[in-house]
Point group: C2
Chain length 229, copies 2
DNA sequence: CCGGGAACCTGATATATATCATATTCTTGC
DNA sequence: GCAAGAATATGATATATATCAGGTTCCCGG
């Protein structure tokens, strides 16, 4: 259960890989592993975070409650991603809530260890910076999509994204199972609209369903839709 | 015209302030100052940037062309801000275009100098990181606003933002003069819709105009609108 | 295996916003 | 100071999407 960070393969995928042996030892000695069940939250918008969370398994949705009472999902974070980094660096309370989409296992790393390395190890700092630069680009792209694409296009794009990032099973169904409500909250639309469009895609032969599972049957048509044809 | 960075007051407002004396000297020796006239671009989406641009005067709009042919303005950058940093750090081509909203003066700093400092000076790297963390938070907030607020709310918010960040003259007109089209592109709506809503706000007594100048006459009402009343 | 609650689905209708068309007003170069 | 083009304004209409209301299906705990 509580293995050593030095051996942890997850680390290879995030900025922790730029840490020195000693730093990793420090992290490993102070970290604690937590199991988060589906639907539970890791932290909430407004929380003061005492550290960051390294995702070992499962997927988390990062969302923010709007004044109209709806939750906007800003990002999905899977294995290898580090949550709470931005807030710790900016010394602000959390701007987003992190809720488990399925059962998760995360490692909590106290912020002191991270901050210490940020001040002493330029390689690590630079690595964190590179990741954040990447996140910022993605966020900018989301802004453009949100304001310039139709709901239909955004839903099509969401499915392509889910396929690309989380894959599908042997039968061609998406591995990451999101509720229609979650998809609606990613895309920024009403749940009913989302359901309606999924039905339409099914009728058109772009998607298939089996129980709650959803699979892509016409990748190209979805892509064309996103590109505006 | 071409003054020394060591004396430049602008620097106080951005991450360059964390540079050492020697680093600043290096920047100053390699930088070049450029004048950009209103409407001209500093760089375009897709350009390979050879360095970053430190804004000494004027305001730039950072925008991205969507597949539907519309320009979405993602951010406005004024005196003290550094443009192109994200692309240089991520070693990617520019994701956004930077166009001058009014006459500008910028300093071009070759990327080698920046990258060199990023690898050697943890204070500087951390400072850049903090700025980027801040930008990322703002971007996340924009995503939520874009998808959850009405056009009317977003326009109201835009005016409050312009007042807060760029101020107003003695008569109460906004100092930063944006065209209706630009405002529409910030907010992500059609120019006609934007004009219509501005007219409505004028009729309601929230705004006043004089030629192309726009002023806020009822701050509270606009704020209430944004908050959903 | 059954009952009940949650998730999903569909229809009718309301509403916000985009689009198209045209008029008016500014602004800028000559 | 005027002509011409750009920016602003406004009306009519189309369309996408939200909202409300009532279903059906799924799935889990007992």
């Amino acid at each position: 259960m509580s293995s050593r960070c030095e051996q942890c393969i997850i680390r290879k995928f995030n900025s922790l890989r730029a840490m020195s042996k000693e730093e990793l030892k420090k992290v490993s000695d102070t970290k604690s592993t937590k199991v988060i069940k589906k639907g539970e939250s890791i932290f909430e918008e407004g929380d003061k975070l005492g550290g960051v969370y390294c995702v070992r398994d499962g997927v988390s949705k990062l969302s923010k409650l709007s004044s109209n009472g709806k939750d906007q999902i800003v990002k999905l974070a899977a294995k290898g991603e580090v949550l709470g980094q931005r807030s710790v660096i900016a010394e602000e309370t959390a701007n987003l809530s992190a809720v488990a989409v399925n059962d998760m296992e995360v490692c909590f790393i106290p912020k002191e260890v991270i901050i210490n390395s940020l001040h002493k190890n330029p390689d690590f700092t630079f690595e964190v910076l590179r990741h954040m630069a990447h996140d910022l680009r993605e966020a900018d792209d989301v802004i453009v999509n949100m304001s310039q694409k139709t709901v239909k296009q955004r839903i099509a794009e969401a499915f392509l994204y889910l396929k690309k990032n989380y894959g599908e099973d042997e039968e061609g169904f998406l591995l990451l199972k999101l509720s229609r409500e979650d998809i609606a909250n990613v895309v920024g639309t009403a749940t009913e609209s989302c359901i309606r469009i999924i039905s339409e895609f099914k009728k058109n032969g772009y998607l298939k369903t089996k129980g709650k599972k959803i699979g892509i049957t016409d990748h190209k048509k979805l892509q064309d839709l996103v590109d505006g044809f």
